[in-house]
Amino acid sequence: MANTIATTHPEAAHAHAHDEHVVLPQHRHHFETEEQQREAGSFGMWLFLLTEIMFFGGLFFAYLLYRNWYYPAFAVASNQLNVPEGAINTVVLISSGFCMALGVWAAEVKKKGFLVLMLVLTTFFGLVFLGIKADEYHEKYEKHHIPGASFSVSEFVNPPINVKTGKPDEEPIAPDMAQHTQLFFFLYFAMTGMHAFHMILGIGILFWLTWRAHKGEFSDGYVAPIENFGLYWHFVDIVWLFLFPLLYLINRHPLH
């Protein structure tokens, strides 16, 4: 309390008879102002997100490196991914982020009903994303594109003939290079899987926040949990904004 003694704060005179100067019950006495408390919360959340950048960054770097080493395998494997489903999922995730952003606004202006609606929509779009992702994983399972004992390189060694052109869509690659498509699919499952895991955790937290918002906890000036969860949810969006072009799109053009 050394710094408060010299100030003109009225509460400094009775520093321990606290709470009478506090507007919100959530305002902790070790913060001078609500603004300071809020700032400290955002700062802490961002520090957590920086560790997340490093975590996903490592996966992205592994992808960059192996793509340069085994470029032919990565090109043909990347072209096996389902672009329409990936693109729809991008739109779904952006919509989810938009609803989350509107939810933060609703909490700021103390609109309880709209906040609950936006949190429900955020959850809904998140679940749609996971459903489409599950369908894509199932497609990989059916094509034997999951790395491991039942992985099949036949599609890369002997590409199927396209009935329209009478030629295969992809150039065949040598069997040893074709084995490296497993690395692509391993990284695909690791990266999209960790992303999906973050979304599953987020949806769990969303259920809890929606329940608390329904009880009116965030429509009375106390916005921090909604705001900080919003930061997390938007961060997960950003990871997908990079995953989608890097995994699905950057090798489409050589298709003959």
């Binding site: 710094n3 509460e11 603004e35 700062f43 961002w46 919509s95 799109l249 053009h253």
Partner: protein, 114 residues
């Protein structure tokens, strides 16, 4: 809120309590949403044109632009205090340094032996 500002201590410049709290409007969020949808379409469309080495560069440039817009508006960094802006910037800068140092290592492993 205003009650606290009244007995705010101007000599206290260490605590980051000077940040004005700014509420981003739904209209602003709608512009960001439309921007993100538009550039998702652009990045999918561009992938089917053969631009050679420019394909991955363009894809990454679009993804980075979208990420910056999300960080500035959805994540409110544009309206945050300098402390938060510095924190975010420092994080991305550190990530950039780590990538560049690792890249320099891998590129120079077989230096002169090709």
């Amino acid at each position: 809120m205003s009650a606290h500002i009244e007995h705010h201590d101007p000599a206290n410049v260490v605590n980051p309590e000077h940040a004005e709290h700014h509420i981003v409007s739904p209209l602003e969020y709608t512009y960001v949403f439309a921007f993100l949808l538009l550039f998702t379409g652009v990045t999918v469309g561009a992938a089917y044109f053969n631009l050679g080495a420019l394909n991955p560069i363009l894809a990454l440039a679009i993804a980075s632009t979208k990420a910056v817009v999300v960080i500035l508006f959805f994540m409110h960094v544009k309206y945050q205090s300098r402390l938060i802006k510095m924190t975010v910037g420092a994080g991305f800068f550190t990530f950039f340094v780590l990538i560049m140092m690792t890249m320099a290592d891998y590129i120079s492993r077989a230096w002169g032996t090709w």
